[in-house]
């Protein structure tokens, strides 16, 4: 069987800001389903995407309590993608830019992502078949 190909994504947007975050996660999902290994370099606000302290809330405007609202936080999407990668025999390697983490004081995240640096991004680029940068605007 041919060796899996690898794609790298660089993300910059914080969660809950715009559609680019969801689009990026959908692209990662599609890549995993199509048999790619995926690397993510979370830069700047994107380090908040897998933040452990995200919490769902009730929504009075919708008239639903927290259970009924069933609001998936982005950290759950990242966790689901990591699990999906494992199920498919692949890998999602998610690196959190360490200085960006320190600046924002968001040092706790779900199991899976790891702390790293731009050097990891360079290594990802060198070791990947292609890299897509999805910057903030």
């Amino acid at each position: 069987m041919a060796e899996k190909k690898t794609l790298t994504f660089a993300l910059m947007d914080a969660p809950y800001e715009n559609a680019r975050t969801t689009t990026a996660l959908r692209l990662i999902d599609a890549a995993l389903r199509r048999g790619f290994n995926v690397n993510v370099f979370a830069y700047e606000g994107a380090i908040g995407i897998p933040s452990a302290k995200q919490a769902p809330h009730p929504n009075a405007v919708h008239g639903r309590d927290v259970i009924q609202e069933d609001h998936p936080n982005p950290k759950e999407w990242v966790a689901a993608l990591i699990k999906e990668a494992e199920k498919l025999g692949g890998k999602l390697d998610w690196v959190q830019c360490g200085l960006c983490v320190d600046e924002r004081g968001i040092g706790e995240w779900i199991t899976g992502p790891r702390r790293g640096s731009p050097a990891d991004f360079v290594k990802f680029i060198e070791d990947s078949d292609n890299t897509l940068v999805i910057p903030t605007k």
């Binding site: 600046e103 731009p118 991004f121 360079v122 680029i125 060198e126 940068v133 910057p135 605007k137």
Partner: protein
Amino acid sequence: MAKKILSIIESAYRATLEEQDDTVIWLMHAMRGAGADLTVVLRGNAVNYVTRGQDASGLAFGGRRQTNPPRIDDDVAKLAVKGVDVFVVEDDLAERGIEPSDVIEGVKLLPRSGIAQLFGSSDQVFHW
């Protein structure tokens, strides 16, 4: 051999006071330090990064003064010193009334029509 990476920077002055730099220019320095083979093109509003005489000093809230304001022109110049080819799109300079004589040393002028040639000589193209 390292992949040739072309970084086109267009978003400008995003959080530069909070960061005391431009985060993508900063990333280029860090990537260069990690061995990346980089070429940088500044276009759109980011062409202002290479103009002489910028001064972002003076920010203060109450008694808390910013003592190290961003000096992005210096940061760009230092990229060139580190061996990164730095281009600025001259059409975008002209549209903003910036004369070539206003551009700092070490930066090369590039016609908009020349960007495509850089694509051809790069393994990766990132647009920031």
